[in-house]
């Protein structure tokens, strides 16, 4: 499923990243790579999605994170 469809406080593992190389480079450099665990902290419409991963609170623009596929755990 898409990261942006994941509910608040749900845990997941990044399954796949899609998008142009610029997006891939930005998303991996902030720590989201396939296999890494994350927790959705906030997911409100019209706000960036807040996820917690690798000890870091990360804000992701909603349309940008359309390319992040996750598996809920």
């Amino acid at each position: 499923m898409k990261l942006s469809d994941l509910g608040e406080n749900k845990n997941a593992i990044v399954a796949k990243l899609g998008g142009d190389s610029r997006f891939i480079s930005r998303i991996t450099s902030i720590g989201l790579t396939p296999g890494c665990r994350l927790q959705v902290v906030k997911n409100d419409r019209n706000r960036p999605v807040l996820v917690y991963s690798r000890d870091t609170m990360i804000a992701l623009n909603r349309s940008e994170c359309g390319g992040i596929e996750v598996t809920e755990v």
Binding site: L17, S21, R22, F23, I24, S25, R26, I27, T28, S29, I30, G31, T33, P34, G35, C36, Q39, V41, K42, D44, R45, N46, R47, P48, L50, Y52, S53, R54, D55, T56, M57, I58, A59, L60, N61, R62, S63, E64
Partner: protein, 672 residues
């Protein structure tokens, strides 16, 4: 003579790079732009032992890919051998993620050392970090450090000296072992020329090739024959290179940290404050309230300077009296009092505000609050091509545009900074708010409320259109991406470094602003001064000569001159009108524009007798949307370091103000 050493600071946003830079260099720093680039360049220097060190604070970015000007500049600076040693910062409280910069650096042949910053935050989180083990595995010096700790700088200098003396580079053997598992990596590396770009090892270049790095790919294309290039293209197609190398980098980081980092795994929870800031209803009001409180708080450190400015202005009368009794010619008295004393008084008062805003909002940035502001307003400001943080200068500009300009220091992208200031000019400042309601209610009675509402709507429209016009040149289409950033944990500021930084910036602003203001004021004084009793000032001649044209905008010559004077300071527009309509001392008009005084007691009758309603409306819009004041102009130049863009914005505002005046004037003619 001891040799000079250049160190470059490299680190992701929020790694504490600016704090370290400010603490190291203090007042010995210089901010400009990289030649021909829209990226800010910060340099400084310090002395330790007998050695002199130059420090370059490289633009913050999350990686060393070539996706933005910031990253390309950072890479070029390092690879071209400008730095003797690179200091890479990582955040100890988020070690796994923030060591990515080190992993991305691995393969660059310039010696480096690693600062595991924010050790205090990590310790508070119960993390135990074995820096010695990490250093051993990295093959370069690495220390635990807190940039906000006054006492703890000795270890930094020791690590620096060690790095300079031993010139070690990162041990990349196990990273390369991970890379080698990536399909195509070994084949690409085999075809990689040894010295394709000096400063980068073939390993680094091969990894960047797989990551589709535009700069490396272009260089390959220019250097190798077509056949080899197409071979390489074949190897990198079908592999998600950046994902693979990213995973390899994190696998390497895990190896480095294994046994060196002990932490309790806990799930994420937002603190009380963050629960409010991220609330879908209360988030925006909370951010606006925070900024407004910050604005009010800015006045506290501002008051002493503002008081000094006022007191300085009071020198005018005694100085005039003294010079007159000494038989000094009138025009010299006028230059000294109207140009020098008045301008400096004005500058000191404004500078107080700049000092306050820089301090308070610099503090909010350092503590981590501005990152929350960015998060909350990302969507709204993104529509204008700006960062969420841009909302702060806009709100501050309701008080003073100069403060708004100073506030843009927290925006790390130069283009977005210029665009933010360009839009902030459209926000009517405190001085405009002192004039608008008074004029509106005089001419339109209760209709004044409507005028103010229309002004606010015009402001929004103005900002939207201005964003379209200037945005294209300032914020490139490919740079208009949504937010991918971290919300750093709140942390304590380093007061000493912050204060030194703020004082330094205030001093720089003072020097530059004084030059611009004195120049503009001198010109203005020259064209408005009557050198002999029977000569008329140039401004009067121009004003009356072009009256047929300005009438199209709804401005007769008196109003037009008042409009021109409002570019110097809006407070004075009414004083100028008083002087002109009563046929009073024309040369005094300028003096009043600067001091904001001299309003005739019967101003209301004067205005109602001489100005029609449509003209009044035109005048209100013209001065509201004119450039804020000469000090704001100078502050803009100080912040964006570009005379070209400052002039562009100023001319644009003068023209659009007249255009708006023309529009409302003709609408007014239809109504009244």
């Amino acid at each position: 003579m001891s040799e000079k050493v250049t160190i470059a600071l490299l680190g992701q946003p929020n790694s504490g790079k600016s704090t370290l830079f400010n603490a190291l260099t203090g007042l010995r720093q210089h901010v400009g732009n990289w030649p021909g680039k829209t990226v800010e360049k910060k340099e400084g220097s310090f002395t330790y032992g007998s050695k002199e060190y130059d420090v370059a604070d490289l633009p913050g970015s999350y990686s060393l890919s070539a996706n933005s000007d910031e990253e390309v500049i950072t890479r070029d600076f390092i690879a071209s051998g400008n730095a003797d040693v690179v200091c890479i910062l990582a955040d100890s409280s988020q070690l796994e993620r923030s060591l990515f910069m080190v992993a991305d650096y691995a393969g660059i042949t310039v010696p480096c050392f690693v600062i595991l910053n924010m050790a205090d935050v990590a310790a508070a989180q119960g993390k135990k970090i074995d820096a010695g083990l990490i250093a051993q595995r990295l093959g370069v010096p690495a220390i635990l450090f807190s940039a906000n700790d006054k006492k703890g700088y000795e270890p930094f200098y020791k690590a620096l000296e060690q790095a300079v003396n031993k010139k070690k580079t990162l041990d990349v053997s196990s990273l390369e072992a991970s890379y080698e598992k990536i399909e195509g990596y070994q084949k690409v590396k085999k075809l990689m020329p040894e010295d394709l770009i000096p400063g980068y090892s073939p390993m680094w270049l091969a990894a960047k090739t797989l990551e589709n790095d535009p700069v490396v790919l272009a260089k390959l294309k220019n250097t190798l024959d077509a056949e080899t290039v197409s071979k390489i293209d074949g190897y990198r197609k079908g592999v998600q290179g950046a994902v693979e190398t990213g995973s390899a980098k994190f696998a390497w980081i895990d190896e480095i940290l294994s046994g060196a980092l002990i932490e309790k795994k806990e799930s994420a929870a937002l603190g009380k404050l963050d629960r409010i800031y991220t609330h879908k209803v209360w988030g925006k009001p909370a951010v606006v309230l925070t900024i407004l409180l910050g604005l009010i708080a800015s006045f506290i450190p501002a008051l002493p300077l503002m008081g000094f400015g006022k007191a300085f202005g009071m020198l005018k009368e005694p100085v005039t009296a003294a010079l007159t009794s000494a038989g000094c010619p009138d025009f010299i008295i006028s230059i000294i009092c109207t140009v020098f004393i008045q301008s400096l008084s004005y500058i000191f008062q404004m500078l107080g505000f700049v000092f306050g805003v820089t301090l308070v909002f610099g503090l909010l940035e350092e503590v981590g609050v501005m990152a929350r502001v960015s998060y909350v307003f990302d969507n709204t400001m993104g529509k204008l091509g700006l960062q969420g943080k841009s909302v702060m200068p806009f709100l501050v500009s309701f008080g003073c545009t100069m403060g708004g300009a100073a506030g843009t220091r927290v925006i790390d992208n130069w283009g977005q900074k210029v665009l933010t200031i360009a839009l902030a000019w459209a926000v009517p400042c405190g001085a405009a708010w002192a004039v608008i309601p008074m004029l509106s209610s005089l001419f339109f009675g209760p209709g004044a409320v409507l005028v103010i509402v229309v002004i606010l709507l015009t402001m929004l429209l103005h900002m939207w259109i201005t964003a379209k016009i200037f945005g294209r040149g300032l914020v490139k289409e490919e740079d208009r991406y949504g937010m991918i950033m971290e919300l750093p944990p709140y942390h304590k500021p380093k007061w000493g470094a912050l204060l030194r930084y703020v004082l330094g910036r205030t001093k720089d602003t003072f020097v530059r602003v004084t030059k611009v203001v004195l120049l503009v004021c001198a010109i203005f004084w020259l064209i408005s001064y009557s050198f002999s009793a029977d000569s008329v000032p140039i401004l009067y001649r121009i004003g009356t000569a072009i009256e047929p044209v300005t009438k199209l905008f709804g401005l007769n010559w008196q109003l037009f001159v008042a409009f021109v004077a409002s570019s110097v300071g809006k407070e004075g527009a009414l004083g100028v009108i008083s002087a002109l309509f009563t046929g009073g001392n024309f040369a005094g008009a300028f003096n009043q524009a600067m001091s904001g005084g001299g309003v005739a007691s019967n101003l209301n009758e004067i205005l109602l007798a001489n100005v029609t309603k449509p003209e009044a409306l035109a005048f209100i819009f013209a001065i509201t949307f004119n450039m804020p004041c000469v000090v704001a102009l100078a502050a803009t130049y100080q912040e964006i370091h570009s005379a070209k863009w400052t002039a562009k914005i100023a001319v644009y505002y003068t023209l659009t103000a007249l255009l708006l005046a023309a529009v409302v004037y003709h609408i007014g003619l239809l109504i009244f």
